[in-house]
Structures are given as C-alpha cells and as structure tokens.
Assembly symmetry: C2
C-alpha cells in the first residue's frame, strides 16, 4: 500500500501564523442603510450637516421671547398676543415681535424673533384680544388670530428649544472606523441622511468537499456502495457565515486530480479563501496536496493537533487556501480553531467575548500523543445543592458551594462521527505534554459560542418514543440513547442526571425512581405477516431471518429472558435456541433499524416496539410488556430539569 506520510508537523502556533500571513480581506461594499446592521465600517463617518437643521420646538406650546416671561407665575401670568401658528413640516410665515407669541407644534421650526418656548400645560387661553392696530395677516384665517395666551411660568432663552446642530453638529466625528453597526448607530446614520454605508466586504469563502462517496442532502445515498451525506459542506458554510464570511458551495470534486484541480481553481478565482475538506482516503489527500504544492504554494502540511493533523495551509492563484480534514468533527474543530478567527478578522469583527467556563472533569482522561488535543466536551450542572434533607445526616455540606457546579465529560463517538459536536458544548484544550487529566480536575472549557448554555437535563439510556414526547416538553434537555446497560454504568459514575432503563436489570443502582411506564415489545414483521410468525418459536423452528438489538438495549435483555423461558419449557439451553435463530447474534444499535431491515427485505422479523411497527406501517407480533424506569441521580433530584421531567411524566398520566 502506497501511502503519503505527512511531512514535518508544525506547531499550532506556526499554523496560526501561516494563516495570518495569508490575505483574506475582501475590499469594500457599499450597502444600503437597511442592510448595514452588524456590518463593519471601513472608515470614519463625519456629520455632513447639522441635526436638527434648524432651531426646533421640543414640545407643543408657544414660541416667544424669553424676557417677556420674566417674573411670570401662576398669580401673575404674562399675557401675549397669539399672532399665528407653526406646525411640524411647515415653514413659519410669521415672526414674533414684542408682546407676541406663536402657537407651535413639537418638532416645528422656531419662528424668527422667538428665543424660547413655553409648553401648553403652563399656559391658559386668555380669550380674544382687542387689536390696537390692523395687522396684515397675509390672508390667513387662523382661528388663533386675535387670541391671547396667559403664560404662567418664566423661561430662559433656549428653554424647550433644540438648537440647530445640538444633536449632531456638522463636521463632527459620527462613527469611527471599524465600528460594527448597531441599531442605535443606524439611528445616527439615518439622522445624518446617509443612505449608503461603506463597509468591509465579507470575505468570500469557497467550500470544496472532495470524495467520491459524498451525496448532497436531498439525494439518496447508496449505503451498499458506502455513500454518505456530505456533512462538511453545509456545516463549514454555516461556520463561515457565523464568522462573518460569505460561504460559496462548489460541486463535489471527485478524487481524480484533473477534476480536483479544476474545481479548486474555479473557487480560487472567485473567492478570497478556499476551504477544501479532504476526502479521508489517502489518495485524495495526496491529490489535493499535490495540486496546491505544484500549482500554488504550500506553507503548512500537517499540524501537531488532534484532531486535525492532516491540515494544509497555502495559496492557490490569488486566493488563500486551507485544507481541512475529511472527518466532520475534525474539520469543524480545525475550522473553529484556526480558520474562523482569520475570517472574523478579515470581516473586521471583534473577537467574540471570551466564553470560557470552568468545571470538573467527570472521568480520568488519558492521552499523551504529543499533539495539542482539542477535546469536545459536554457540560452538566450539578448544583446548586439540593435542599438539605429534613432528617438524616447525609446530604453534603450545604453552604459550601451554592454556585452552580459544572461537570465536564468528553464527547467522543469515534472517528467519523458527525453528531459529537451537536452533543457537545465546548472544547477543552489539552497541552501536547499532558499525559492525562484526573477525574475531578478543574478544566477550562471554551464554549462553542458565548450563548451556549448547559442543557437543563442530561439523560442517558433507552431510546423510547414515549420518552421522546416527554422530552419535548422540556427546554433544552440533552438525551444520549446509549442503551440501558451503559446508562446504568454512567449513572453509577455520577455523570448524567437521569438514566432511562428498560427490561430486567442485572443489579440495583443507587438512584431515585421518578417515574416510568410500560411498553409493548415483540417482533416487527412485514405487513399482513405473510410468514405467519406468532412468536420466537417460529424463528427457532424455521430459517426465517431475524434482526436483534445490541446487548446494551433493554429489548435485548427482554428477548433473552423470553428465550430463557422458552429454553426451560423445551428443556434446552438458551444458547442452543439462540444459535437456532438466524441472526439472533446480529444486534443493531438503533431501535428502528431491525424494522427497517424488514422493510428493505433483509430480514423477516426484527426485534422492536409496537409503536415502531405502527409508525412504519408494519405488522406487530407482541411478545411482552416491559417496564421503562426513569432513575434520577440521587444528588440531582432537586435540579429543575429532573423535577420538570417528573412533572411531565405525572401530568401525562403515566405510571
């Protein structure tokens, strides 16, 4: 087997520097005001006009000469003749002379001659005025003409008037360069009449996923050929947009050099940065690396980080280039650690507020491969301490730590898993020279984003349709369907809040039962039950193909118990009967998978639930009922998520 080894691995710092040495900036966009929110100004914006552009009444009332109100009060109001009115949006057609006032609306232009205004609440009508001379009113027939007003307060010049430029003055520095525009800034820009805003262009980031086995969501992957959905393209695109870039998806490149080079060149011509996520096959990695090295410039070929070793950094045409690993978790970890900060910087966005929490590691983690390890982790809140028990002397030490305490557990579903990150809250970075972390050791967790909050409930155990509906009533629960046995083990280790277990249990566990329900299990068979299967005996005595569940599953425990009973009846061993069933040892992890094998024709009967058969329009042969039990960690019964679930179980009328 001919296999390309990665050349000298560089340090994570060197990889950061290599990416920083590339230019990702995208120039200047001129966007309309309504699209300027959250964009970043390229230059300072100065006010080109006064705001307001005129002396402006701040209230409804009367514009007048302040000195004519001096000494006025409730007992001795000043009496002024009302010579006209000005509304907002109108040019005043009247001036204020001695002894006169003009009725004015909020926002209207102060008439000339007036230097202050008095709000209407501090005035009274004074009835008609006897005019001493004929005033030319220009043909206006205002009802206020010839009226007088009594001013019951004294005002100073400028009172209740906003002078021109008092809000923003022409020539003033309005917004600085590199400002990320908030709705409040939009207010300022509107006031200045700026309808087009020069902002940093979002860096265009081309995304090229490679691999002959990839299929886009919406299409049908052929599992027998090992086809899988393309996870990286969409995930990385979302990460790019999150970091302030503009993602451009390119068609998949197959693993041959010519096609790969064509797609990479097209992306490089159109984008500021090209991200490939390598097909994980050695040949494809080799092809990409050769394209960049021979047609562009390769700066980094391998980084001492786990996951992410096969990362590439370089240039192609005028574009920057980063090659991400093919495994989705590795690709995203490398993306967020090395690439997202560079995109943010090119977009002009500030580094996000540091979002780091400290917690205790749930279990000992060995490592020591001499590479920086980026370990995805989940969080469980273990505090605040529950209410001290009324009787008994246990119950911890109340008052020691009323703060919420965080337990940190590694999330690792193995290489190639796509869900790990959806089930994780952040990352713990473990130094290259750290060989292990002890259980209980304090670790810093960098949250995936500042708004990440630990789940309200961490549950593990059986996959169950009723449970799924109950979980829907909770806010932000996390549930890992690991099966009954692993769930009990994890509960004993003190990690989850609850374990949901089914079927007969091997041994007791220190836990508080907070509810449960029964479910019907049996054989899921084809519609109409053409093989006339009535029970396990039919599987033993025929060559019908059966699909079982894994030994972790509660259903597996129940079917083994049933087989044992049958063995007693027949005076045979359980092993003999199991061997007689074609496929009894073939256990699938997913609770619906056996039923789906029946649909696809790969099996005649699958172990499953009545509910599943119903949902998938299959026939169901009942074999028994099993009890689902929800067991709470005894230290967490007071946790809101646990009591919420308990309430949901009770209010659903389950028992």
């Amino acid at each position: 087997m001919d296999r390309k080894e990665f050349r000298d691995l560089v340090s994570p710092e060197a990889a950061h520097e290599a990416i920083e040495s590339l230019s990702l900036e995208g120039g200047i966009d001129r966007v309309p005001l309504e699209e300027a929110r959250s964009r970043v100004l390229v230059a300072r914006l100065d006010a080109e006009l006064d705001v307001p552009g005129f002396d402006r009444a701040s209230l409804d009332g009367y514009a007048l000469r302040a000195r004519e109100t001096f000494g006025a009060d409730e007992a001795d109001p000043a009496r002024l003749e009302v010579v006209g009115e000005v509304h907002a949006g109108e040019k005043p057609d009247v001036a204020v002379a001695e002894g006169e006032a003009v009725e004015i609306s909020t926002g209207a232009v102060m008439p000339s001659g007036a230097d202050a205004m008095v709000p209407v609440e501090q005035t009274d009508d004074a009835g008609a005025v006897e005019r001493t001379d004929e005033v030319d009113t220009g043909g206006r027939t205002d009802e206020t003409d010839g009226e007088a007003v009594l001013i019951r307060t004294a005002v100073a010049p400028g009172d209740n008037v906003m002078f021109a430029g008092a809000d923003v003055a022409a020539g003033e520095r309005a917004l600085g360069p590199r400002t990320q525009v908030t709705p409040r800034d939009i207010g300022l820009l509107s006031a200045l009449g700026i309808d087009e805003v020069p902002v940093r262009a979002r860096p265009r980031v081309g995304i090229v996923s490679t691999g002959d086995e990839l299929v886009r969501p919406g299409d049908d992957p052929a599992s027998d050929r090992g086809e899988i959905y393309d996870v990286n393209s969409y995930t990385i695109a979302a990460g790019v947009e999150d970091a302030g870039g503009e993602a451009v998806l390119y068609p998949h490149a197959g693993d041959d050099r010519e096609e790969m080079e064509r797609v990479l060149r097209e992306a490089a011509d159109e984008c500021d940065l090209v991200l490939s996520s390598g097909s994980t096959s050695a040949s494809a990695v080799d092809v990409i690396y050769r394209v960049i090295e021979e047609e562009g410039e390769l700066l980094v070929h391998g980084v001492a980080v786990k996951p992410g070793k096969p990362m590439l950094v370089g240039r192609l045409a005028d574009s920057a280039y980063v090659g991400l690993p093919g495994y989705p978790v590795s690709a995203m970890m490398v993306f967020r650690t090395f690439v997202a900060p560079a995109i943010r910087e090119a977009a002009g966005l500030p580094e996000p507020e540091s979002a780091t929490v400290t917690g205790r590691l749930a279990r000992r983690e060995r490592y020591g491969e001499g590479r920086l390890r980026l370990m995805p982790v989940g969080l469980v809140e273990t505090g605040p301490d529950e209410v001290a028990p009324v009787s008994g002397d246990g119950g911890g030490s109340p008052g020691v730590d009323q703060e919420t305490d965080l337990l940190v557990y590694p999330v690792d579903k193995g290489s190639g898993a796509t869900t790990s990150l959806a089930e994780a809250d952040g990352v713990v970075s473990v130094d290259a020279d750290t060989d292990y972390l002890e259980a209980g050791e304090a670790v810093d967790v960098q949250l995936f984003s500042p708004d990440v909050r630990p789940p309200t409930l961490l549950g593990v155990g059986e996959d169950d349709p009723t449970l799924n509906q109950l979980l829907d009533r909770l806010e932000r629960p996390r549930y890992l369907s690991v099966g009954s046995r692993p769930a009990l083990r994890q509960l004993r280790e003190g990690v989850p809040d609850i374990a949901v277990v089914a079927g007969p249990l091997d041994r007791e566990v220190d836990a508080e039962a907070i509810g449960g329900w029964h479910r019907e299990w049996g054989l899921v068979v084809r519609p109409g039950n053409p093989e006339e299967i009535e029970g396990l005996a039919d599987l033993i005595d025929s060559d019908l193909r059966f699909i079982n569940r894994t030994v972790d599953s509660g259903l597996r425990m129940s079917v083994e118990r049933a087989l044992e009973d049958l063995a007693d009846d027949r005076e045979a061993s359980q092993r003999e009967l199991a061997d007689a069933i074609d496929g009894f040892d073939l256990g699938l992890r997913a609770h619906e998978s056996p039923a789906r094998k029946v649909i696809s024709g790969d099996a005649d009967a699958g172990l499953g639930l009545a509910d599943t058969a119903d949902r998938l329009d299959l026939e169901f042969v009942p074999l028994g009922e099993q009890r689902i039990r929800v067991l709470a960690n005894p230290d967490r019964t007071a946790k809101a998520g646990v009591s919420d679930l308990q309430e949901a179980i009770e209010s659903a009328g389950l028992e």
Copy 2:
C-alpha cells in the same frame, strides 16, 4: 389649543401583559438546509436513517477477522493473504474468508466476513503469496492480488470499525423542538440527509412612520420647513431584525386620517405586528389613536414610563399593533423594553443572556415624576488601579479593588435627540417611587446587547480634525464634542478620561497634559474673498454678516480675546466692538456650521479653522493660532486608551 390628554396611564407590567396577550406568531417556514442557521425548529426532528448506513472502516488498513490476529505482535505477526481492496464510495466485490484480508480505505464499506480492521501503520507487506489454489478474481487485476500482509497487532471484533447507526440510529431523537440551529446542528441535519427544515416563521413586522416633516435618507430635507430625516423607520427595522423579526418598511403616512388609516390597514393585512412611530405632533397622535380605537381594538393608551408615555397597544384587523412615541430615543427605549421581547418570543428565540453590569453613578440624578424611568447611560472604566507611584503617598489603596471599576453617567441630549443611544451603552431603570439617585450609588446597567463593551477611552471637549484622525487609530474610543468649557467642568467632576481643550483657559484644572498641537483659526469666507475681508476690523466697520461659535467653544474664547486686543487698540470696550459686528452673538455649536452658512449665503464670514475652509473649498483669513491641549484625568493616566492616545499623538509628530 385643543389637545388630547392621555387617559389613564397603565403600569409597565400591564403594558407587558397587553402585548403578551396579542399573538405575533408567524407560522412555519420550510427553509433549505443552507438557510437554517440560527432558525428555530418548530418540532422535534428524529433520525429517519442510520448514520453511517453501513459498517464503515475508520482508517486506512486491512479488513479481517479479528480472531485471526489473536496473539499477533511485532515478534510474531499474523500473515494473511490480501484478496482485494475496497475504496470509499465502492461496493465491496470481495468477501473475507479464513486466512484473508482486504485492503480498505477510510470510510469504505466493510466487506462481508470481516469484523475488524487493522490500520496500515501496524502492518507490513509480506511480498507475493504462493497460491495454493486457483481463486476466481472475477477478472480483476489488482496489484495487491496475490500479495500478503503481516499484521503486527491483535484486534478485537469491532476495532476500528464504525457500525451502522453508531453515529445516529434510525428513530433516535435528533434535535428537540425549539432548538435554535447551530452550525453543529447543521452537521447533524446534513448527516441525516435533511435538506429542508421546518422552522418558526420570523414574525413580519410592518413599520409605519408618521409625520409630514419626515424625509427618507438619500433625499434632501428642507430645513426651512422643518423637515428632518426619518430616523425611526430604519432604527426600529434594525431592532426588529435584531430580535428575530422580519421588518417591512411602509411609506410615510402623513398626518391626515384617511391616509394614515389606509397605510395602517395595508400593513395590518400583510404583517403579524404593526409598529407606528407617531409624529410627535398632538394632532397625529390623536389620529392614530382614533384609527385603532374605532377600526380595531385599543388595549393600552399611555404607559407610566419615561420616556414612552404615549405608547399605544391594540389590534387592527388580524394584526397586533403597538404605537411607539415619535422621538427616536423614546421610540427605541419603548421598543426594546416592551416590543423586542415579544418579537423574540414569537420568533422562538431564547431570552438573550442577561447582560447586566453594576457601576457607580457619576453624578446625582434627581427625578421623581412617578413614572418608571428608563435612563440611557454611558460607561467609563476607571480601573484597574494605576500602577502605584514610585514616590509619594497618594495613589489610592492598591489591592482594594483590582477589578475593573465602572462609572455610569446618564446620556441625555434632550428630547428629540437621535444620537443619545449611539453614545450610550445601556439603560438604568429607576423605580417610579425613587426621587433621586446619589452620586456614587451602585446601579445596575442593562447593556443594550451582551456584546456591548465600555469604550476604551472616554474623551470630551473640542471638535478638531486632527483629533478625529488620532481617534481613528484607537479601538472603540468615545468622544463627545461638548466644547472646551464643559469639557473642563466634566474633567473636574471626574467623569471622562480626557478633556481636549482649545484657546485660553479661565483657570487651571488638576489634570495631566498628555500632548497637544496648534491649529490655525480665523474667518472662513467665500471663494476668492469677494468682500476682501482681512480681519475682525472689517467686520466691525461694515455690515457684513458674521457667524460665531457658542461660548463653550475654544474658537469663541480666542475670537473674544482677539476682540479684546482690538478694543484695547481702539480704546473701546470689547462689548462695543462685539455689538458692532452683525451676528457676533449668534453662536453655532458645530465647528463647520459657520462655514456652511457662508456656503448657503446666510453669512459673509464665519469663525472657523483653516482645515475646514480647505475641506469645504472656501477661502480662509487667518487670525491666529491656538493650542489644543489633551488633558488626562490624573487617576486614569495608566488606562490603556489614554496611553494609546498619548502614543498616537507622539507618533504623529505633534507637539
């Protein structure tokens, strides 16, 4: 004057309840996967397939039967015949029998018969195998045919294989209802092949600004008619989008009932919520309120909150309706307090992480109007304590508070100001029954958003072009051009970090000078100086119209000093000469405004800077130079923003 008084003001709580009683929800959108980021799921999504859909090799290497490696090690490797190869994306055309192995690529389908794989690093080529029987290779000419491999390690069944459904199992709960989709969730959705995601529709929010005086940015407002730019439409639209809504701008409605009703009805037909921002004239408020009361349903008419008293809540057609005040600051305060939370909830977004900081109030604030007061405030960091002086016994008490200390100052530029919020960081809520807050009192500030950070530097003082350029080199400075006199007063009060002052000072202030420069001031006149103005004397001895700056300005102090000198020469009083200049008492706040009055023909000469004349293509008549001094608060000289500015001054070669 006929004026509509607001009826019974309701409490802020009652206003919240009224808005909650309206339904803003917009239904369901089905968006393509690439647009699902940050959207909110309407329902739980379950896995409809196993991921991976087949048993999958996790590494490059050899697929084999685990039991054949039992006991193998470096010294005694197991030797297996290589009978074929499988690449990712290919259907295996070979099975593994006893004594055999199949070369396999990462991600490829495990061939039948194999139950584990060994990575290539733990194998060695063993050269050609002497075949003992003729095997039908189906015409394949693989180079590996007839090769053997040495396996240097023992593996257990399942090692280095990801079994079907191990990542996600069919039927498993994938994402819960109300999940806000992260890039990591997009990864999970991609893996499940989901290309269309059912999410909550963003509530459509129609925005209707009313007022005859409003002009949209991009157009030209006629200041003589009191026209102003429409600030509310764009600001509220940005706030709506921030809260997860979709903003729809409607044309301005004028103040007449028929037009207002037509626009409001159109918006109500098309949107889930209509927001009007009232023209502040009493007549317009009256019209809107009547339309809602007569054509829809009016629930709230006036709220005991300042600003925001004239808020309306009701229904029109099938839409919810909220009437916001007309003043931009009031409109935004009401929007964010009452409306944004309702939009967020309708959009399914979680309440943002509480972003509250505690600080000390910079100055005593009186209030006591019996309404909840929402006070926009700015923040200044006053700590960490500066390095203790090497000598001297002052310098505070190191170690007492090494945390950053925050000073909180109210931002209030008066009714109608649009910039207040752009210069504020958050809001202090003052209870209706609080009459005053003492200086130094601890107050909680609700930040406008969780990512708000206090400015790195708070400067106040003179508006100056050189200063503007220096500020551009700093990250997130805030500068309030209040003029020299107010700047000195504020510096004495201990609020800003620096004061930038110009011209002769009345009295000394306790401050540390960190730099300065000279600027040329004089008269800005029309191009070509048609009036042949050579100095102040020409203004005294003619009827040329002059425009001055306000008494707060450093230029005003310099021109008064110059006039004094001239008065000495002429043996006249300064007052006499000032009276002889047409417009000497007419002071404008903005440093460019006098020049702009020259351009508009309203004046023959304006007080200004050489720089301004140059920028606006006007002629400049120099009258003198004045010193700009940058004075730092003596307690804040160690603050990064202050030293950054000092460095910027020095590196610009200013003195």
